[in-house]
Every structure is written in C-alpha cells, then in structure tokens.
C-alpha cells in the first residue's frame, strides 16, 4: 500500500496526463507543485508566528493570543489579512526599485530552499545530489534582500541594520558551513535523501558521530540562530537600538514578507538540523518502520518543531549581543572549535570509532 500523500499525487499526475498533451501537463504539474509549496509555506510561516507568540507568552506568565478563534488559532491569519489590506507606504526619498525588490529577494530565497527538503520518503520536491550544498547556498541569498532593503530605505537606522546583517551573515555562514561539512564527512554524500538513508541503518547521525557530532550540533544551532537573525543575535532589528532595523520603512505586505521570511528561515535551519543530526523523517528507534500507512512526514514535522522550540527558548531567555561581541564569538570561539572538530571527526572516522 502506498503512502496517502503519494497516492493522491499519483492520481493527479495520471489525471493530468490523461486530459492534456505531455508538455502542457508537465508545466501544469510544475505550477501545481509550486502553488502547493507556496501555500504550505505561507501557512507554515503564519502558524510559526502564532507558535512564537504563544511560546513567548508561556515563558512570560501570559496566555498569548486568545481572541480570534479558539485559543487564538486564527490570530495570525487575521493579522495577515490586515497586512494585505494595508497601504504599502514608503517615504519620498527611497530608491523605489530596490526598495520594492528587497522583500521578494528575501522571500524567494527562503522559498527556494524549501524545494529540496525531504519531508518524507516520497514528499520531496527536488532531490538533487548536492542537496546540502544547494540549501546552504540558497539560504544565504536572503541577506542580499536585507542589505538592499536597508540601503534603499534611505534611513540611517535601516542602513546600520543592513550593514550589521551583512557582517553577521558573512561571518556565521562559515560556521554553518563547517558544521555541515563535519556531518557530511560522516555521511559521505551531499544528497539529502541519501543522508537519511545512511541514518536508517546506522542510527541518527548525532549518535553515530557522538562527541564531534554533538559539538557540531551546538555550533550549528548557535550559528543557525545567528543566520536567521533571531535573538540573541537579532542585531539587525535590535528594537531597543535601531527601532526596527532594516525593515523600519516597510509597511503592509512588504513588511509581512520580511517577517514571514524570518520564520521560514527558522524552519529551514531547523529542517537542516533535523536532516543532518536527527534522522529526518525516520522514526525514533524505528517504531513506525513497519506501519506503512503512518505518515512519515509527521516525524519530520515533530522534530522540526522541537528544534524551533529550542530556538524560541533561546530568544526569550537571552539578552542580545553587541556587534563586536558577535564577531568575537564567531572568529575567536566558533570557528577555531569548528576546525578542530572537523579534524576530530575525520580522525574518528579514520579510526572507525563511530557508533
């Protein structure tokens, strides 16, 4: 018996090819997939915002949104509707073209990364053999959007925010890259589906690689939080210093794009962590291995939410770093440790000490 999502897609696939010529059907299918992904991520983004607000409230003795719908579950949808209906306003002296371009850069970069995720064995948009590489490359395009937006806003606060974001992303890209590299050393492949296959037999990579893998995970979480510009690394926005940073001048849906992109980026980072360290859609100890009807995507989502919860926990606990401390942390601590860790991992694999 096939997985339920897959059987639906197969049905649609067959139906499309039966009523259209081959070329048109393929294009229609692409469009359908794109629309499905877009819808999925709009909803995921919105509900991540809601989750963030709920979690923040629970850390702070509050209830969080509870007015729109039961337990406030429609709150962010209402917010999104409000933002859509708002006027897109900009001040007179902005660089119109770049100003309008920036949000799309950010959101497109986030959405592109989504394409390669293996949500389950069958549910993967695009399984290329350099998957990790692609993810990593695409997710760092977003920063161009921030830089452009901050520059085009013609606001000094935005500019400071944009410059900070550039500096932050360039620095922390290294750590993210190196910690991913450490894990790739263990798997021997860049293809995401294969990385998960490796874990099916040998256990999750964080257990396989034990000490260096745990260190790599910690570094990945720190650097990943910095990549997404979230507290304690939210210098880009730093509301007590810069007002709202690079998106000070944005309003309406353009602002919403920046906002959603932040949450989707968080989803991306969490997904990479799940694929690289926690076995992707594999169930823990293979408990649902034999149950064919069980949607494996659920395991993936649960794991991703756990990681996201961890990132939210960081955000609502720690103060923000200062700009020079941010760089000190990267260049004096994370990077050297990462290098040593990489060598350590290589030695462990060489001596066959993996579990």
């Amino acid at each position: 018996m096939m997985n339920i999502p897959l059987s639906i897609t197969t049905t649609i696939h067959d139906w499309l090819f039966s009523i259209m010529p081959e070329g048109a059907a393929t294009i229609t299918e692409w469009v359908l997939i794109a629309v499905a992904y877009l819808a999925l991520f709009a909803v995921a983004g919105l509900y991540l915002v809601l989750l963030e607000r709920k979690v923040a409230a629970w850390f702070q003795f509050r209830l969080g949104p509870n007015r729109v719908g039961p337990w406030g579950i429609f709150q962010t949808i209402a917010d999104a509707l409000k933002l859509v209906s708002k006027e897109i306003y900009s001040n007179q002296k902005v660089d119109k073209f770049l100003f309008n371009l920036a949000p799309y850069f950010v959101i497109v970069a986030s959405l592109m990364a989504m394409a390669v995720f293996p949500f389950s064995k069958q549910f993967q948009g695009f399984d290329i053999n350099i998957g990790v590489f692609f993810l990593f490359a695409v997710s760092s395009i977003g920063v161009i959007g921030l830089l452009v937006g901050g520059w085009a806003s013609n606001n000094k606060y935005s500019l400071i925010g944009a410059m900070r974001s550039g500096l932050q992303t360039i620095s922390y890209e290294l750590s993210v890259g190196l910690s991913i590299l450490t894990m790739v050393l263990l798997t021997g492949t860049l293809q995401l589906s294969e990385i998960i296959e490796v874990q099916r037999t040998g256990g999750w990579l964080i257990f396989q690689g034990h000490i260096p893998a745990v260190i790599a995970f910690m570094i990945f979480m720190i650097a990943g939080t910095a990549e997404t510009n979230r507290a304690p690394f939210d210098l880009v926005e730093a509301e007590s210093e810069l007002g709202a940073g690079f998106h000070t001048e944005y309003s309406g849906m353009q602002f919403a794009y920046f906002f959603l992109a932040e949450f989707i980026n968080m989803f991306i980072i969490a997904s990479i962590a799940v694929v690289l360290f926690f076995g992707g859609w594999l169930s823990p100890f293979g408990i649902t291995e034999g149950i064919t009807w069980f949607p494996e995507v659920l395991w993936f989502v649960i794991k991703v939410f756990m990681i996201i919860l961890l990132m939210m926990w960081f955000r609502w606990t720690f103060p923000r770093l200062r700009v020079d401390q941010l760089l000190t942390l990267e260049w004096k601590y994370l990077l050297p440790i990462n290098m040593v860790n990489l060598v350590l991992m290589a030695v462990i694999i060489w001596l066959n000490f993996t579990l």
Binding site: F59, R62, L63, W316
Partner: protein
C-alpha cells in the same frame, strides 16, 4: 586555559537562565497572570478606596449632603469642579440661604488627587470605583453631580 573555562562558564550560565524560563514555561497553567479583561467584567472588583471618579451620593429621598460651601472648588488644583449656587428661600425655616444649583465636575480635567474629598466638610462627595471612563465625546466627561430636583439633606449645615 581561561579560554576553555570561559566557554564552560558561559554555557553554564546560559543553561541556568534557560532553566529559569523553561521552568516557568512548563508551569504556565498555574502561574499565568493574564486577566481576560472584558470577559471578567462581572467579577472584577476594584479596591474600595480606588479613585475612579468623584460622585455625590444621594439617598432614597433624592437628598444630598452638599451645602455649596465651595471648599472642593477651592481645593481643586485644576479647576475641575465648578459650583453654581444660588441664595434661595429654605422652605423649612423661611430664611434665605446658599443652595447649590449645579455641582459641575469635569472628569476630563481631574487628576484624581483627592483634595476635594478631603476638603469637603460634610462628606458630600466620595470616590466611585468606576474604572471605565472612556467616552466618544469629550462633553460626556463633564458631569453634573447633583441629581435634578435633589435638595440638601436636613441637618447637615449644623
């Protein structure tokens, strides 16, 4: 060596902080302090001394205790009390005496300092615990405290 102890101590303090917030996160059901305000209107009880607005209590015969001495008007720092008074013939004694016509209170100018109430020699005005003072029109905040047709309670002036 201090490099590694820095890392160790840093991570330790961060985890301590996370334990504090995490502890409250899991105990949210018993610890939350949110008041669901418009929903709990019926049960929400202000403290008896809460300074909501100045009112003039009237008894069942529509009688108040204000003699029109204007102590409150003088005591008020913002001019939020205006008393319009008149000399009228008191039906009981047949003498002319000071009676209030209107005791006007501008809630919009009131700073809730309570000087008028402590200045009042006959306890004619008191605090009410009404806390929902928002209105759509500013003129609604100008109130006449004595009810129409009300008169002074007998025996207050002595």
């Amino acid at each position: 060596m201090s490099y590694f102890s820095d890392i160790y101590n840093g991570i330790k303090t961060l985890l301590t902080g996370m334990r504090v917030t995490g502890g409250h996160f899991v105990r949210i059901r018993s610890e939350n302090i949110t008041q669901l305000y418009p929903d709990n209107r019926d049960t929400l009880q202000m403290f008896e001394r809460f300074r909501g607005e100045v009112v003039m209590p009237h008894d069942e015969n529509n009688e108040h205790r204000c003699t029109g001495c204007q102590s409150c008007e003088i005591a008020c720092p913002n001019g939020s009390i205006e008393i319009i008074w008149d000399r009228q013939v008191d039906p009981a004694t047949g003498k002319k005496k000071k009676m209030i016509d209107k005791h006007i209170y501008h809630l919009s100018m009131c700073t809730m300092c309570g000087l008028c109430i402590s200045a009042c020699p006959t306890d004619a005005i008191v605090w009410a615990q009404n806390y929902e003072n928002a209105v759509y029109d500013r003129s609604a905040l100008t109130k006449v405290l004595n009810q129409p047709g009300s008169k002074l309670k007998a025996g207050i002036e002595e």
